[in-house]
Structures are given as structure tokens and as C-alpha cells.
């Protein structure tokens, strides 16, 4: 039996009087690709941020990779993120004054030691071997997202989080990025949690959960 990488119980997140996430019990097995769907404000990103150690829950329990995230300090959470999590953002969030390879090396810097050869190799894996020295402003949206993917996987994370990673891409680029993620997942065997409100993108996963107003309303297992 596959062990769970994420286990939540009564996981809640309030922002003042607003309850962004109502008690959620969720188990994600290791290696699963879980898509999280819902409308804007449904709590998708809140759930992802909690699971990725970017935010702290208001209530409930949260274990990721066997680590009780509620017990970690601020810096402990940062160390958890660098060791365990890779994040792909919708807005890419690349550092504008660094080249593609340097953006990847920045993640290495926070993890351990920057290694240019490794960073180049990661970019070559995502098909950007010819764009190593280009800055984000010189890359297309799809290329920027691939740099973001290379940066997310450079430290071999156990958990890859995608916050609407294809939200700003056209159909062709979306397919290209999703295929790339599928390939990398097959090679690296990381767990994927992908927030999206695109049904087509969600269909790339093994399972989809649906959130509405902070409540997990249903889940759907995809046919392989």
C-alpha cells in the first residue's frame, strides 16, 4: 500500500472573520497527481499554501511527508519548503535581473550550493538549452513557465505544487507544459498538487477534488 504524503484533519484557515477554508480532511498518497478545482475564492490557493508550508492553518492538523507543519517555526517552515517542496506559479515570479540559468541557481542557493552545470541540465530537460543566458523579459510566457518548472524541480522535491501554472498560457503552451510535467513526474516520482479552474488541465491528474466556498464538495478519480 502507498503511504500518504499529505494528511489533513479538520484543516481550517480563517482570515479575520472570513473562513477561507472550512474543516477539510484530506489524504494524498505519495506519487499522486491531485488536481484542485473550484471558482475564485473557493479556497484552492489557500489549501495549496497550507500544504506547501507557505501559510499556517487556523485549526486542525496537517502532516506533510511525515512532518507536523504546525509544530515548525517560521524558519523551520522555510527549511521544509526548500527540502520538500517545488512551486510553479501562474505569474512565473522569475527574478527579472537574473538569466534563466541564474533563476534556477537561486533555488539551489537557498537549498544548498548553486551548481551551474546542474541548473543548465535542468533547463535542457525542459527544452530551454538554447535560452540559458536569456533574462525573463526576453522569454515567451511558455518559456518562462518552463524556467519556473526547472527551478521547481532542481532540488528534487517530493511535492510539486502548481498554482494555476497554465493560467496565463495559450492552448499550445498549456499542452506543452502539461506534457513536460507528466514526463518529469514519471522520472522523478514526485507528488503533484495542481490548482486550476481549467477542466482540461485538471484531467491530467489522477484525482480531482472540488472546493466551493472553502468546503471540499466532491472528488473525482480520473480514468487513466
Amino acid at each position: 500500500m502507498v503511504s500518504a504524503i499529505i494528511e489533513t484533519s479538520g484543516l481550517t484557515r480563517n482570515y479575520g472573520d472570513i473562513c477561507a477554508l472550512k474543516p477539510i480532511d484530506l489524504i494524498v498518497p505519495e506519487g499522486e497527481w491531485l488536481s484542485v478545482m473550484g471558482h475564485s475564492g473557493s479556497g484552492k490557493s489557500t489549501l495549496m499554501n497550507l500544504v506547501g508550508g507557505l501559510d499556517r492553518p487556523s485549526n486542525g492538523s496537517l502532516r506533510v511527508g511525515g512532518e507536523d507543519l504546525l509544530a515548525l517555526s517560521e524558519d523551520g517552515l522555510a527549511r521544509f519548503r526548500r527540502e520538500f517542496v517545488g512551486i510553479i506559479f501562474q505569474q512565473h515570479h522569475l527574478v527579472p535581473y537574473l538569466t534563466a540559468v541564474e533563476n534556477v541557481m537561486l533555488a539551489q542557493y537557498f537549498h544548498s550550493v548553486p551548481d551551474e552545470a546542474e541548473a543548465r541540465s535542468a533547463l535542457e530537460r525542459v527544452g530551454l538549452g538554447h535560452r540559458l543566458k536569456n533574462r525573463p523579459g526576453e522569454l515567451s510566457g511558455g518559456e518562462q513557465q518552463r524556467v519556473c518548472i526547472a527551478r521547481a524541480i532542481i532540488n528534487s522535491p517530493k511535492l510539486l505544487l502548481g498554482d494555476e501554472p497554465t493560467g496565463n498560457l495559450d492552448h499550445k503552451s498549456t499542452v506543452m507544459v502539461m506534457e513536460l510535467l507528466k514526463e518529469l513526474r514519471a522520472e522523478e516520482r514526485f507528488t503533484v498538487i495542481m490548482v486550476t479552474h481549467n477542466q482540461e488541465v485538471a484531467a491530467w491528474g489522477d484525482r480531482t477534488i472540488y472546493l466551493d466556498d472553502g468546503v471540499l464538495v466532491r472528488e473525482e478519480r480520473m480514468k487513466s
Binding site: V95, P96, F110
Partner: protein, 386 residues
């Protein structure tokens, strides 16, 4: 790649990316540190210059004997004061100076009259080595005297038609001395009317062994004022009078103190303004880079690690600003000393340390507020652009 090297590269890239703001901050830091450096160098050079000027004027403290005063009169009538000649004891003065710990150039004098032909000549018994050190501007035609020799003041030499190589037989109360004139000395002062011979020779000729009429001291005024030093010495020498040669010493000290105060005030104002400017610019930079900070934290950078990057940027700006400040400051100091004081400032390499220190201090102090913001910034909110 080594982590420190990568950090340096990251810092340089970040600064190069914001050229305008970097140049502005560098200009502010360079201006502040160059002013501090320039004022420091000018102050330092002026202090040396004033000390040199004071040296030129010669002694700034004198010790003279307390005259024995006797009021002459009776009842309501007062006929004036009779003063007996009085002397300082050379041994006592030497011991007192040694005990006082006062660092000063000194010269011992015994002033008296020796008879030559039909006239009495005023003679000053001195140590010629001390004289040469204390009064370097005295001009000498001929040579400084050896044993059995004398030098004559230029006015006296003219009046008595004396020249180097002549011999004189001088009659004192106790002894007669026969001396050869080795040179004619000119100081532009009262010394031009005197005859000089070695102190022990005059003491013997006058029968005043171990006695002095005057001690001249040249104290380089430091933090403690000359007046305080004179008072301290007076307490140790109650049998003598310790006087300041006031004009020169006080004027130099006063002028220097005022110039220093002015420089300190101007520097303080500039440093405060520069610090505020750095703080404002750094705060704007941090606000603009909120997403970048959030990203770094999201990637696993601890609060300290992310803050280190921004501190590195501030330190790099401080370092470069300090270097530029030292170069500009040295040039400004040269300009000021040449145009205002008609002298050239010294090249003082260790002021580079002060310039760097000032610039780094300003850059880091101005960054304290922004750094606290970096430390506290929530990655989720900053990535959302809140």
C-alpha cells in the same frame, strides 16, 4: 559555485538592474562620506599646521622666578616696590618637569651682564642644542659654538663691529672668560642685541651655578588646554611663576576649536540628511521588490537568509560609496586647504577606513527599517502583490 560568490553575484546583479536608484544611493553615500573625509583631512592637516605654526612662534609657556618684592613706605606713604633679583633652581625645575609628565620642548636660560672693555653686555646662557630645536628660524652666519666659543646677536655685532673669528674677554663677578666668536645670529627679536654662551660657562662666570632666570617650554596643545597645563605646573612649582605666552597659544587653540566645531556640525547635518535619504530610497526599493522577497521565502529562504541578501546590497553600496567618498574627499580636502589655507593637505591613507566606515554605517543604518520589513514580509501576501 561557492555560496558567497553566488551571493556577491546576486547582489551585483540586483544593483546593476536598478541603475538609477543605485547611482542615486551611491551619490548620497559618496557625498556624505567624502564630506566627512574632507572635513576630517582638513581638520587633521590644519591641526598639524597650527601645531607647526605654534612651533614657529617658539615657547608657549615660560617659567620665571617669583621676585622678592619689598614695599617701601611708611604709614599712608608708599614709595614703590624694590625687587631683588631672583633665580630658579635648575635641579628643582628639571625634577618638577620630570614629575609633571609634561611633554614639551624646553630651553633653560640665565640672563646676566658681563663686562667687556668699558661696557656691560647682556649675555644669555643657553644650551645651544635646545635653542636650535626650539627656535629653528634663527639665522646664523658662521657656526654654532663649541666649548670656549660664543655667538653674538646681529644688532650687537653691528654696534660693536664684531665678526666670526674675533675673540672677547668677558669679565664676570666670579670669573673671566675668554671666548671666540663662532657666528652671528639673527632672530628678528630682542635676541639680536644679546651675546650667547653655554649655560654652564655663564653660570660659572657669574658665580650662579645651577641657577636660572627663565625656562621656556613649548607644549603642543592637545585635548587639554594650555591654561590647564600651566595651572598644573604652577601647583608643582610654587616658588616660580608659570605664565602662558598667551596670544599665540590661545589664538591657535581657539581658532582650531571653532573650526573643528563648525566641521563637526556640518558633518553631522550632512550625515543625518544622507541617512534619511538612504532610508527613504531603501524603503522604496524594498516595497517595489516585495514579490521578489516573497519568492525567495517561498523557495525556502529563511528570513535571515533573505535579509542577508538585502544587507549585502546595502553593504556593497556602502563599500563603493565609501571608496568613492575617500577619493572625492581627498580631492575636496586638497582644494579647501589650497584655496582657503594656502597649504596642501596631507595624503592620509587611513582616512579611507573612516570614509568606508561612515558610508557603511549610513548604508546599514538607513536600511534597518527596510530590513525589518524584509524580515517580516509574508510570502503569500507579497506574492499576491498585497
Amino acid at each position: 559555485m561557492h555560496r558567497r560568490r553566488w551571493l556577491l553575484q546576486l547582489v551585483l546583479r540586483a544593483l546593476a538592474h536598478r541603475k538609477g536608484r543605485t547611482v542615486l544611493l551611491l551619490a548620497v553615500l559618496a557625498m556624505a562620506s567624502s564630506l566627512a573625509t574632507a572635513l576630517g583631512i582638513v581638520s587633521y592637516s590644519m591641526e598639524k599646521q597650527v601645531a607647526g605654526e605654534v612651533r614657529k612662534y617658539g615657547a608657549n609657556l615660560i617659567i620665571i622666578p617669583q621676585s622678592a618684592r619689598l614695599d617701601v613706605g611708611s604709614g599712608g606713604l608708599n614709595f614703590g616696590v624694590i625687587t631683588e633679583p631672583a633665580y630658579l633652581q635648575q635641579r628643582e625645575v628639571e625634577d618638577t618637569l620630570a614629575r609633571s609628565g609634561l611633554k614639551a620642548e624646553r630651553s633653560f636660560h640665565l640672563r646676566g651682564a658681563l663686562h667687556w672693555k668699558d661696557a656691560d653686555l647682556m649675555v644669555d646662557g643657553v644650551n645651544f642644542t635646545d635653542i636650535r630645536r626650539l627656535f629653528p628660524w634663527w639665522q646664523l652666519k658662521g657656526n654654532w659654538p663649541a666649548t670656549g666659543e660664543t655667538v653674538v646677536g646681529s644688532d650687537l655685532a653691528t654696534r660693536l663691529k664684531l665678526k666670526p673669528g674675533d675673540t672677547m674677554e668677558l669679565v664676570g663677578k666670579a670669573q673671566t672668560v675668554r671666548l671666540r666668536i663662532s657666528g652671528i645670529v639673527s632672530s628678528g627679536g630682542e635676541e639680536d642685541g644679546l651675546l650667547f654662551l653655554a649655560l654652564p660657562e655663564l653660570q660659572q662666570a657669574l658665580g650662579l651655578d645651577g641657577q636660572l632666570t627663565l625656562v621656556r617650554l613649548m607644549v603642543t596643545a592637545g585635548d587639554e588646554s594650555l591654561k590647564k597645563r600651566a595651572d598644573a605646573l604652577q601647583l608643582l612649582l610654587p616658588s616660580a611663576k608659570v605664565n602662558e605666552v598667551r596670544q599665540t597659544a590661545r589664538t591657535s587653540e581657539g581658532l582650531l576649536a571653532k573650526v573643528k566645531l563648525l566641521m563637526f556640525m556640518v558633518t553631522a547635518v550632512v550625515l543625518v540628511s544622507a541617512g534619511s535619504s538612504v532610508a527613504g530610497t531603501m524603503s522604496t526599493t524594498v516595497l517595489e521588490r516585495g514579490k521578489e522577497i516573497g519568492l525567495m521565502k517561498a523557495m525556502g529562504g529563511t528570513r535571515w537568509e533573505v535579509m542577508l541578501i538585502f544587507c549585502g546590497e546595502a553593504a556593497m553600496l556602502g563599500f563603493l560609496g565609501g571608496l568613492a567618498g575617500y577619493l572625492f574627499g581627498s580631492a575636496i580636502a586638497q582644494f579647501i586647504t589650497r584655496t582657503v589655507f594656502s597649504a596642501s593637505a596631507e595624503f592620509i591613507p587611513w582616512f579611507a577606513g573612516i570614509s568606508l566606515g561612515v558610508s557603511l554605517f549610513l548604508a546599514l543604518l538607513g536600511s534597518v527599517g527596510p530590513m525589518i520589513s524584509v524580515f517580516k514580509l509574508d510570502p503569500v501576501r507579497s506574492l499576491r502583490g498585497e
